[in-house]
Symmetry: none
Subunit: 152 residues, 2 copies
């Protein structure tokens, strides 16, 4: 699999749940469709990792030299707020209140899936960020894709 893809709009109901979109579910093997690790994301979002992907990241981090203060701090910060989550029988996810407040989630939520992760954004915040960066998109493409070519 080339990784997760897709942008999905979901609605949080009165109980703080939303349906995990079928389009995303189908990208995951049956064994990984139920359990996820929820963590705070970079920038203003939450991130959902399929368990196997989370373990890959964990392994990477475990290789760090934890005698270095900076590494220890990064390790703590990265894991702080991580929580194991499972879908209910209707295929919905319940986001803990504390997490929702942390990134200012309202009723309208966007799920952004790429590579090994699913980001959870407040819809209006997401589009603000996207529009704010759109102007730099071309430059960014040049910069990012340019770097990649160097590696080949």
């Amino acid at each position: 699999m080339a990784g997760l893809v897709g942008e999905f709009e979901v609605k949080v109901d009165a109980k703080g749940r939303f349906l995990f979109p079928s389009g995303l579910r189908k990208q995951l093997s049956p064994a990984t469709q139920r359990d996820f690790m929820l963590n705070k994301g970079f920038e203003d979002c939450l991130t959902l990792y399929p368990l196997p992907e989370w373990e890959k990241i964990s392994e990477k981090l475990a290789k760090m030299n934890l005698f270095k203060p900076k590494n220890r701090m990064f390790y703590r910060l990265f894991h702080q707020g991580a929580k194991l989550i499972a879908l209910d029988n209707a295929g919905r996810i319940l986001i803990p209140t504390a997490h929702m407040e942390r990134v200012g989630l309202n009723q309208d939520v966007m799920l952004i899936a790429y590579n090994d992760r699913i980001e959870i954004w407040d819809k209006s915040k997401y589009f603000d960020v996207i529009e704010g960066n759109m102007a730099d998109f071309a430059d960014l493409a040049d910069e990012v894709m340019g770097d990649l070519d160097d590696g080949e």
Copy 2:
């Protein structure tokens, strides 16, 4: 493949579907005639990538280091509106309502094929943009293609 070409006019039916023109289908190998990746293009249009073309790009992106903020942002920008799409048995594409609204698609739609992609425009919007820029065509040619000579 020498790349896709052509401008096609299609009509969106009451269910939000349109027929993928046979002239375009014939440019694709049988294996790639069914599945596409839809996403939001530059300017006010949607872009359809044949799956193999999309995967080429994906492979490159998968090598990025996602601990770098720039790379994450690029990923998000590039994946805007990304959604896997398949034709139905009658060879039609269903464009999700959210996507149609996002770029203001009405009943009359233009498909613009070039290189590895197919752009989907609202007809009137497309001609507005074309006409609006026609006057600058000569200058643009000079500006864009003029540089090419230097490199050859």
